[in-house]
Amino acid sequence: MTALDRPDVSLALDPEEARRVRAARFERVGKWLLPLAIMVAAIWLWDRICVWNEIPRYILPRPGEVLYTLYADAGLLFGSLLVTLKITFLGLALAVAGGVGLAVLFAQSKWVEMSFFPFAIVLQVTPIVAIFPLINIYVDNQTAKLLLCAWIVAFFPILSNTTLGLNSVDRNLLDLFKLNGATRWQQLVHLRLPAAMPYFLGGLKIAGGLSLIGAVVAEFVAGSTGQSSGLASRIIEAGYRLNAPRLFAALILISFTGIVIFLVLSLISHLVLRRWHESALKQER
């Protein structure tokens, strides 16, 4: 495998193979360099636009100023980030527990799935912002409100993916289990759950981002109560005060958090599946 990764340079290559090696090398470097270059160019352009048009800092701050705010307001912003992160991860954990639990329940009987799946869909397709006023009436605790929102937004992809995975088991393997007198529990633990793993991890990757969105959106709608202090509240507050640099700084923190969550979940997925699943294998020619 490693020998294939690095072709022996002393090898006499025909033009086609040499071209392929060059293309592969360019792709390895370009994959990182190109997006980075575009990003730097965009930030430079942003800075220039501010200067050329003499845009006031409360409308569009220069990138440098945003960066400085990130540093100067670090205590405030990172404290808020922690609050948002707490809601995001608790929401995600509950979504995993609820989504997988319900999916396993659905997998036990076609009837249960047929009866309850429509409710899950209703919960999914109704915009969370529209449900929130109701949650606001019924739930007192601020954290519980936000958690409920994050959970509602994040649990569906886990539920639907895991359900699909639990049902996508090789028919012959099911026969083999039956032939060997496997119990339902053995069938679940040794066959259905491992088979559902790639599907579950795919759902988890989506749910991670959604959980963050759920947490932020919930805080936006709940923000009027003035009790929360997550990043969304900071953005609203900064908006009222025309503190655009802080607004941008908070926004960057949220995006960055989303990216990190996605990368971490992708890494987990890769580590779990790398030994057996097609999606985690390096392409071999």
Binding site: L176, L179, N180, H190, L191, P194, W276
Partner: protein, 272 residues
């Protein structure tokens, strides 16, 4: 149109009846009769091939024997005394059907694991079985790292690890290339002679059935039924020399002839 041929007796096998299919038939809920009324005796130590065109019910028959499906008519008489319960059977599918997330070792362990045998307890049996199919050294490999032939070896080891008296094989080598198939044919025969289990082997290859079995049961379609039987009395062990012998050629000719007749008999409405 419909013709039957007198089945040749298979005295060569001579073992005690292991399983008698008495008047066994299967009709699916969509009205298709996969298997008409089949009477068939499987004897202890048989290597019995079910040979026939697609749609003749050979796979259905195998699933009925395995207990994966229940017959519409008739009964499966284990030991042929009307009283015996079913034995442990091993099953090898057309595809290797391995757990992709488990190593070779754990895949072979599976049937024992499902019977509650711990890894430590099962280890000697698993190691022995892996050695018997010539995969020693690959215990910790994942299925995706193996070739098609090696995966099928794992599948055979898994089918035999419980020491079943009856091994059911559903076109196990159909998807393999010829060289690999020949080698697996040879190794399977070796295992069968050493372990003395009984095999029911579904195939649509005349050459494979003649090389492997002592009895070939030819089946016809519409409805699936036993059309005739050919006794292959060539001695075991059979090696590559047997494949080129005149006996082998003659047996293949005979089997082909019966198969063609069976296909004519089962062609039904498909004929122009």
């Amino acid at each position: 149109m419909l013709q039957t041929m007198e089945p040749k007796t298979a005295e060569a096998a001579g073992g005690a009846p292991l399983l008698m299919l008495r008047d066994v038939g299967k009709t699916f809920s969509n009205g298709v009769t996969a298997l008409g009324r089949v009477d068939l005796t499987i004897r202890e130590g048989d290597f019995l091939s079910l040979l026939g065109p697609s749609g003749c019910g050979k796979s259905t028959a195998l699933r009925l024997i395995a207990g994966l499906s229940t017959p519409t008519t008739g009964l499966l008489d284990w030991r042929g005394d009307g009283a015996g319960g079913r034995f442990d059977t091993g099953f090898v599918f057309q595809e290797p059907t391995l757990l992709p997330w488990a190593t070779v070792f754990d895949n072979v362990w599976l049937p024992l694991r499902l019977r509650g045998v711990s890894r430590t307890e099962a280890t000697p049996a698993i190691r022995e079985m892996i050695e018997r199919v010539h995969l020693t050294g690959f215990e910790e490999a994942m299925p995706r790292e193996l070739s098609g032939g090696m995966k099928m070896r794992v599948s055979i080891a898994r089918g035999l690890v419980t020491k079943p008296r009856l091994l059911l094989m559903d076109e196990p080598f159909a998807a393999l290339d010829e060289i690999t198939r020949f080698r697996l044919n040879h190794d399977l025969l070796e295992l069968w002679q050493e372990e003395k289990f009984t095999v029911v082997f579904v195939t649509h290859s005349v050459f494979e059935s003649v090389f492997l079995s002592n009895r070939i049961v030819v089946m016809a379609a519409r409805p699936g039924r036993v059309f005739g039987e050919i006794a292959v009395d060539a001695a075991y062990p059979r090696d590559e020399a047997f494949r080129t012998s005149p006996d082998y050629a003659a047996l293949c000719r005979e089997a082909s002839r019966v198969l063609v007749d069976a296909m004519d008999a089962g062609a039904g409405d498909d004929r122009p």
